[in-house]
Amino acid sequence: MNEKRYAIVLDTKKCLNCKACTVACRVENEVPHEDGAYRIWVTALELQGKFPDLHQDFEPSQCQHCQNTPCESVCPTHATYKTPEGVVLVDYDKCILCKACMTACPYDARFVHEHHKAIDKCTMCYHRLAEGREPACVETCPTKVRVFGDLNDPNSQVSKLLDTNRYYRLKEDRNTNPRLYYIIK
């Protein structure tokens, strides 16, 4: 197989909730500062344990680049499509803003981009990949929570991490087959 299959592996235990990734994403992708306009987010999960032995986990997330793609299958114009590497993208010029994809996405990953007048969401910074650069959120993270790479390359860091760790994916029951993997430690 010479085709690439991109994925992101996350080790959330390293997350500081500094939100540098969300800022980097906003700047890199010109995401407007408007209500509900964001491509990625970092959720502070509920406190765990008993006082004083408390701890809290953070869960950064974004579009899961689902292999079974609920947003793509309901998009009437093929505005939402998958690249050969499995990255799910939106062609702004074809989007009619019917918002079917927003209601179909089980991860609430999509929003209306007021300037483009189209749906927007995480692109894995597809525009950077051809230059060999990583997505902005991956590059910027001070503790390297996210690792980006090619699942079809057994020597890639993502393949190795998935070989040697247990992991979960969000809402596996929805049968979306996400490309974001969360390591269990």
């Binding site: 939100k19 509900g36 114009t77 093929h78 074809k94 918002k99 927003m102 209601t103 007021e114 979306t176």
Partner: protein
């Protein structure tokens, strides 16, 4: 066969001496003006500034109103088809009204979807250039587009002067297709929702079935309301059997709706704690509970059903009242259907998740701008329909 050969010129345009349509024409114009103002706002300020829909609840009042109108239209086309294609004479006695009403209310529905979708022109271009055949919205466009054409042909046929036997044959075939395409359009609309991975409340065959049945019921109800209005709540005796038959359709429709509700709610509750459960609870005791108990069940099921049962569907005034109450209640039914499925959040409303929720559900309430577009749809329906009542001859000749 029509016998008014010598009156061909006057049989289409005929000023109705009744004053009944006038207040509705005026009301229609007022609502159109309100809607026109909101349309300009949307054009200048953009959808996001005027509408209250959100990232979490992307479909709101306009989609509900769209569903309300277009499903009623296909329900009317169904009843018209029974008259035309299957020779149910009781319905063919009011066939002109059915066709005009179905056509106009479909247009009213199109105003809502046209104002809802961000790029309606682009929709027409790319649904032809690069249609995704697995997307039910494409089929929605196809079916409702065909329905509009079929209704336009029916309009032509019912108003054509000098009707021939061949015209009646054509009307039969066209009527049959109106019925068939209408059923496909409405059940496919159920699937527009049913195909959404994220919204289990809509999954399965339930809504496709429910929408078809409630649409036919709405068609019958609206016909009884409009006839009462036109005849000043004193429907001529020659139409009694028609109204009685419509009353029976409505009664049966409501009974089926109640039956479907029962199993839908029960099956949703027992999927606890999934999202379908959350949607059902939003209806039963959550933010939509008033709509559900008072609107959906009280106004669209219990009261009209009792009226029909107690009057044995014979008293035409009572049927008119039942029809009005039903049509008001049905609006809540459509609204709740669209909104309830979207209230369960896709992730917990925690710090940083971007989601805001109250009692575990996201929130939506329509904005003033959305209500004004709602007015646009009603304005168009009332204005066009009652203009037709005033200036066209909508009395159907006895031709069978």
């Amino acid at each position: 066969m029509a016998t008014h050969v010598e009156k061909t010129g006057s049989s289409l345009i005929q000023i109705n001496p009744s004053k009944a349509p006038i207040p509705f024409i005026i009301l229609g114009l007022i609502l159109l003006a309100i809607g026109g103002y909101a349309t300009l706002q949307v054009l200048f300020k953009g959808h996001e500034a005027v509408y209250g829909v959100t990232r979490e609840v992307p479909w709101g009042l306009l989609i509900s109103t769209y569903a309300y109108f277009v499903i009623t239209s296909t329900g009317l086309a169904f009843i018209g088809g029974l008259g035309h294609a299957f020779g149910f004479e009781k319905y063919s006695k009011v066939s002109k009204r059915i066709v005009v009403m179905a056509f106009v209310i479909l247009l009213a529905g199109f105003t809502q979807i046209g104002m809802e979708i961000g790029h309606p022109i682009r929709l027409m271009i790319y649904m032809i250039l690069s249609p995704n055949l697995s997307a039910p919205i494409v089929w929605m466009g196809v079916f409702y587009g065909i329905e509009l054409v079929i209704l336009a042909i029916e309009l032509y046929l019912v108003f054509k002067p000098n009707q021939t036997a061949k015209d009646h044959e054509t009307a039969k075939v066209v009527g049959f297709f109106a019925l068939l395409v209408g059923v496909f359009a409405t059940s496919n609309l159920g699937y527009v929702f049913g195909s959404l991975n994220a919204r289990p409340f809509y999954h399965g065959i339930y809504f496709s079935t429910f929408l078809v049945i409630s649409g036919i019921t709405a068609g019958a109800a609206l016909l009884m309301v409009i006839h009462n209005i036109i005849y000043g709540w004193n429907i001529p005796e020659k139409l009694n059997s028609t109204m009685n038959a419509l009353g029976k359709i409505m009664g049966m429709g409501i009974a089926l709706m109640a039956f479907l509700y029962l199993w839908k709610i029960l099956s949703s509750i027992y999927t606890q704690p999934g999202d379908a459960y959350l949607s059902a609870m939003a209806l039963i005791k959550g933010p939509l509970s008033k709509n559900f108990w008072i609107g959906e069940l009280g106004l669209a099921v219990i009261i009209p059903f009792l009226i029909i049962v107690f009057t044995k569907a014979k008293n035409t005034k009572a049927l008119g009242v039942a029809g009005i109450i039903f049509m008001i209640g049905l609006f809540f039914t459509r609204y709740d259907f669209v909104v309830a499925g979207q209230l369960p959040p896709m992730r917990k409303a925690l710090e940083g998740s971007g989601v805001e929720a109250v009692n575990g559900l996201v929130q939506y309430s329509p904005s003033a701008g959305e209500w004004m577009i709602f007015a646009l749809g009603w304005g168009l329906f009332l204005f066009l329909y009652f203009m037709a009542e005033k200036f066209l001859n909508l009395e159907t000749d006895e031709h069978h």
